[in-house]
Amino acid sequence: MLDIILAEILVAAIITFFVGRKLAAIIAMAVSILPLIALLDWASLYGFNIIHLGIEKSISIPIAGVSLNLAITPLGWFFALMIIPLFPAIMLFSYSFYKKNDGFYPFMLLALLSSIGIIMAKDMLTFFLFWEMMSWSSFLLVYRSRDKEAVMSYFIFSSLSAFLIFLGILIIYQQNASLLLSSINIESNAYGVVAIISLIAGFAIKSVLMPLHAWAPYVYSKSDEPFVAFLAGGLSKLGYYGMFLILFILAGAKVLETYFTNLSPNYILAVFGALSAFIATLIAFMQDDMRKLLAYSSIGQLGYIAIGFGIGTPLAVSGALFQAFNHAFFKAVLFLAAGAVAYRTGKWKISELGGVGYRMPFTFMATLFAIFTLAAIPITSGFAAKWLLYESAIDAKYIFVAPIMLIAGVGAFLYSFRILYGVFLGENRYPNIKEAPKSMVAAMFILVMPLLIFLIFPGYMLDMMHDALISGNIATLNHNAFVIETSLASYNTIAVIVALMIALIPAILIYKTRKHRVVDFMDNYLAGELPELYDNKISMHAASRFYKPIEEIIGPYFEPGTMSYYMAIYRGLKAISDAVRKIYTGKAGDYAIYVTLFLLIIMGWFIWM
């Protein structure tokens, strides 16, 4: 069955290359249902009896002399939960998003296939092969944007990532003479440490941890939204899957701790995560391009996962995995909503948008809920995840990380409102647009569903990650479906929900008893005067450089940008290469002189001897 799943995705990838756009979308959607069923079937392994078909857990596919060993593990299953369900929804969205079939579906299917391969890999070779396949298929999807900066930066950073991961795998193979994950034992010496660090750096590139994030703003803002939703929501989690694998399942965290006795290397990962969350948040609300804003927001939100892995306590890792799950869905919804808005208006810049929400209420609702989860408004699952992370930072007494994380959480309100107000509310600039097509709206609401489930039952999420945590030698938290208890405090969703019900009573009383009439904007603050009379010269929408006062203070600190440091490295390398090129001129005569000189030196040496 498992080999059938992989084979059908591969076959579908080939078929979709040749068929029309609608059929391709339907095939891609249909094909991704089977992995979903398998996902539910495997759930019975971890205590959730949803369906029972008995799909096998492990498989070995011999290809060209090597065999690809695949098996479903608790950790792989948990990460599959946040990658595979995204796919059918995104295909549903693209059903009406694309005007023609030009290579989107085949590569998306390959990306899905390779991500399933990565999370099920039983040995490092299979892992790396699928990792490369994922990098290449996503690179070809980025290439569709035909944007030089996006394509080049994605190519260079992907290559760097592959190089670092390959280096790590080679060192591990050298130490163990085996690539099976179950028999790998990383030694606590300089080589082992280099292997761990290079693997983590390689994964950090994919999961956009600062300062290795430099490709993300270009790629996220130039590629197609359905792909970016899958990239930001699903594929970025693969980096964190790898990090979990190295740090906890292969006990890399312990190796680092024993090697650096006086220094805590995990603390450094947490600090990188915190800085990533903080700086990306500050940059995010200064963006004018909706997609760039979401890209920086993604970098910030993914930083929290690194904080959790860095702190490494049961609280922190549970919070990090919870945040990863939430991020997959809310970020996918946000990118799809951006796509839907652009589909109707053709605009990306927030300063050119405004008032879209009045005409696209369902898109607005989905966005609003995703933003509630992003901004961790209580009782959303986003709050439960952030709460666990905050608790863990206080528990571990990380006095540098904790305030930075908290203030990044507040900063999230700022860029959230930038989207809500700048794009969906404010002046009604697009009075004639229609709601997004039904399939797009349906896709967004399907993706909101998982967030709604874990809004009421955050404990279920902790149940689902239970086995994954055990496999990484991490204790699990004391909880039931509604209440999470830590040594510092407890969080009871049912108390919050009941209290909210009661607190809503006065509001609803006032709401129901008010006699009101709904009035157009022109009728109120403009007192009937129309901006058209002044050739639309009066701006009624405060959207251009919204946070100007604060931008002027903090903007200069981010002025050079990370890319400029990479450019400095590039210039350095170029200078060295130029110097080398002075020797390798490419002229036969010069090489003849070099050879003669070399022979002369050797002869001279012999004579002197």
Binding site: I394, I407, V496, A503, R517, V518
Partner: protein, 318 residues
């Protein structure tokens, strides 16, 4: 927990919600009286808050701008009541054992968000600018505030406000946090953050009646404005109580018995009144800052002082 216990708990929480609303409206009137006295005016009567809200809530003409605009009405009052329910008030824990300081911090964002959505849906540019200023203010004052909060959490090794209050009332007044040296500094920082939270001068930038026509509130009228006034009234009580719970032991001076409860309640009331009066006196003494001045003030001077307090506490604990 059985049903009767839940019923009793709900009844207590509802009773406290009413008391909180009453005190908040009283404070609105008394506050105006105090400011008037400083200005050497007579000022309105102390019950002016009640009159205003009753008048606004009984208005017959209510202008709305659609369902997003109505979210302001629904979110603002329910969110602030929810935040109040999760605070220990005068030694009564209410629901504060089911949540913690982070929950309260984020619950305080619900009314702000609803308010911001409503203001955004009104389509008035002044409202947009007002919300921008409110959010920037939030980012500004939250940094020193969360640093002092983390200092408290690390010192008492808990994040639960109920537990912080409990630990501060072990030896009566002498064990209040404000009498521990680093927290004297932290309390001074948090008090200035509170000034921003309460939107009193010099930090009344988001509303700024003379510049942006009351900012976010510009399009609200009738019952909508009445609800927002109720929200403002309760938020005064919530924010001052947060300060009192953190630094002044929640006003708890005695333990056990009904007498202790009444005494604690009175002490809590007096303390929040003092904290509120202090902010009013600062309010009368200062003109308004510009938004960038406020940001610099909080992120430079306040944040440095708060960090000193945090490191001091860390050094004491380790």
């Amino acid at each position: 927990m059985d049903v009767s216990a839940i019923m009793i708990k709900s009844a207590v929480v509802i009773a406290y919600a009413f008391i909180g609303t009453f005190i908040g409206l009283l404070f609105l009137g008394v506050g105006r009286k105090i400011v008037a006295r400083v200005h050497n005016r007579v000022g309105p009567p102390f019950y002016q808050g009640f009159i205003d809200v009753a008048k606004l809530l009984s208005k017959k003409t209510n202008i709305s701008h659609g369902w997003i605009f109505d979210l302001a009405l629904l979110f603002s009052i329910s969110g602030i009541l929810l935040a109040f329910a999760f605070l220990p008030v005068g030694g009564i824990k209410l629901l504060s054992t089911d949540g913690d300081a982070f929950l309260v911090l984020y619950l305080l964002a619900i009314p702000a968000l609803g308010f911001a959505l409503g203001a955004g849906a009104s389509g008035n540019p002044n409202a947009g600018i007002g919300v921008m200023r409110a959010l920037v203010m939030m980012l500004s004052y939250e940094l020193p505030f969360v640093i002092t909060m983390i200092a408290l959490m690390i010192y008492y090794d808990t994040t639960s406000i109920a537990r912080i209050v409990e630990l501060q009332s072990v030896n009566g007044i002498s064990s209040w946090a404000i009498f521990i040296p680093p927290f004297m500094l932290a309390a001074a920082v948090a008090d200035m953050a509170l000034q921003g939270m309460l939107m009193e001068q010099p930090f009344d930038i988001p509303v700024a009646p003379h510049e942006i026509a009351s900012g976010p509130m510009v399009e609200f009228g009738g019952k909508y404005l009445g609800t927002l006034m109720l929200y403002k009234a309760i938020s005064i009580v919530v924010e001052t109580t947060l300060f009192v719970d953190f630094f002044l032991g929640g006003g708890v001076i005695m333990h056990g018995g009904i007498v202790a409860n009444i005494a604690n309640f009175i002490v809590w009331f007096v303390l929040i009144f003092i904290v509120f009066t202090l902010s009013l006196l600062i309010n009368t003494a200062f003109p308004r800052f510009r938004i960038e001045q406020a940001f610099t003030f909080y992120w430079k001077y306040e944040a440095i002082l708060a960090t000193v307090a945090l490191i001091w506490v860390y050094w004491m604990v380790i």
